[in-house]
């Protein structure tokens, strides 16, 4: 499997990246870990005449946790996330989710930036970022701008990012309370049949806040505001969980593919969300 020929660029700063993007427009694409883009190029489903490798661009990787705010550079790998003690302390859901992405070799290469910017409905980070109410930092010819994760995804592979912009970091407030990232997949390395990211706040026996996002059950990640609202103010009893699951099922729109028919995916989504809520509540 040989991809079409391309010109390779390896700039050492963002100015260099933006210059290539400005010159070549939608004929140019940035490459992070490459484990989504390279397979697409090998299958000739993506044609990239100008490939801009970000590996030498300064300041794009690294994790900071300061004053309850977490910032993760776009070139930070899943493996970096798994090994970062301060992040595991501040936002353990990041580690829990990253451990469920692909396999060890892919996690050494796969990056947060690539995972969130590519817009693949199968990627785990977009739903997780919506659950965390994260902000994405984009850099383009007119400077920097911030976009909320919950408003970033438009359709499969279509996001709010313009062709001449680069996603350089994600940031979010360290969550409190209970958390769970639950994922059903056919085998190691497969995308989710259904996955759920859940964050729950608890005061006494009462749920004080809830954020629920689902992965690979629509052409974008689905942050289900109604599912969260169904839990807030309750003791997360069976009736509340039923209501949350029903609300989530009203928000997703899965399609049939080789992971199963629509009915099966809706069934799997419900099972996964129930497990995630139970685990998050137990930890809250």
């Amino acid at each position: 499997m040989i991809p079409a020929a391309f010109e390779y660029h390896r700039p050492t700063d963002m100015a260099g990246v933006l210059a290539v993007l400005a010159e070549h427009g939608d004929e140019a694409r940035v490459l992070a870990g490459g484990h989504s883009l390279i397979p697409m190029m090998k299958l000739r489903m993506a044609d990239v005449p100008h490939l801009i490798d970000l590996q030498d661009v300064d300041g794009l990787s690294g994790i900071t946790v300061e004053g309850g705010r977490v910032r993760i550079g776009a070139m930070t790998t899943q493996s970096d996330i798994i090994g970062h003690a301060a992040l595991a302390e501040a936002a353990p859901i990041m580690r829990e989710a990253s451990l469920q992405i692909a396999d060890p070799q892919v996690r050494y290469m796969g990056t947060v930036g690539g995972n969130v910017a590519n817009g693949d409905p199968g990627n785990d980070m977009p739903g997780l970022m919506q659950c965390l109410d994260a902000t994405f930092l984009l850099v383009g010819p007119d400077g920097e701008r911030e976009v909320q994760a919950r408003g970033f995804y438009e359709a499969a592979y279509m996001t709010d990012r313009a062709d001449d912009e680069v996603l350089v970091a994600v940031a979010f407030d360290a969550p409190s309370g209970g958390y769970a990232y639950e994922k059903q997949k056919r085998k190691i390395g497969d995308y989710a049949t259904a996955a759920a990211a859940v964050l729950l706040g608890k005061d006494g026996d009462t749920c004080t806040s809830a954020s629920i996002a689902m992965t690979n059950l629509s052409d974008t990640p689905v942050w289900s505001e109604a599912a969260g609202a169904a839990l807030v103010g309750t003791s997360v009893d069976a009736a509340a969980v039923d209501a949350a699951v029903a609300a989530m099922l009203g928000d997703i729109d899965p399609t049939q593919d080789n992971r199963g028919p629509i009915e099966f995916k809706r069934h799997a989504a419900a099972v996964i969300l129930r497990r995630a809520i139970a685990r998050a509540w137990d930890r809250a």
Binding site: E7, K42, S79, Q105, I188
Partner: protein, 164 residues
């Protein structure tokens, strides 16, 4: 004809320098250009791990990396771990514990395992299975692969203790 670029990399301790199209995949560079045929092409779709090499200290699937990305990198393949005269502890353990049948996945398995044991010198069986999840074997059912890696870990730890 696409423009060729000047590539330099160190493979198994030896400096290599050549001209290549940036789209060339690292596995093809290793096998066809440098005649380093330990890393195998199994699926060529990032699933099977037969092409695993160590690149700048990371286990990577060399079918999912352009040679251009590896420009300047340090690469280790199975050939850099042991030789027929002096097998690596892992190679010895795979031989001893029947960690292979047809042997096709073995170079990738051992290359990955060498990195895993560097990161976790004394792994549990669960850690071995989780850490080896990117390598597929269609013969053994994995049981003896896990056994071999655990045996190699014990051997390496014993050698380390004896040296101290």
């Amino acid at each position: 004809m696409a423009k060729k670029m000047h590539i330099q990399m160190t493979v198994n301790g030896e400096a290599q320098e050549f001209l290549a199209e940036p789209r060339e995949l690292l596995i093809h560079t290793l096998r066809e250009r440098l005649n380093i045929t330990g890393p195998h092409i199994g699926c060529e779709t990032s699933h099977c791990g037969a092409c695993t090499v160590t690149l700048n200290g990371k286990s990577v699937k060399s079918c999912t990396m352009f040679v251009a990305q590896a420009n300047g990198a340090e690469v280790t393949t199975i050939e850099g771990l042991g030789s027929p005269d002096k097998l690596h502890v892992l190679q010895e353990a795979f031989k001893e514990h029947h960690g292979l049948q047809c042997g096709f996945c073995t170079p990738g398995m051992i290359t990955r395992a060498s990195k895993l044991l560097e990161e976790i010198p004394n792994p549990t069986e669960e850690e071995v299975r989780f850490g080896m999840a990117g390598n597929l074997c269609r013969c053994t059912g994995y049981q003896n692969i896990v056994k071999s890696i655990l045996a190699a870990a014990a051997e390496m730890n014993a050698a380390k203790e004896a040296a101290e």
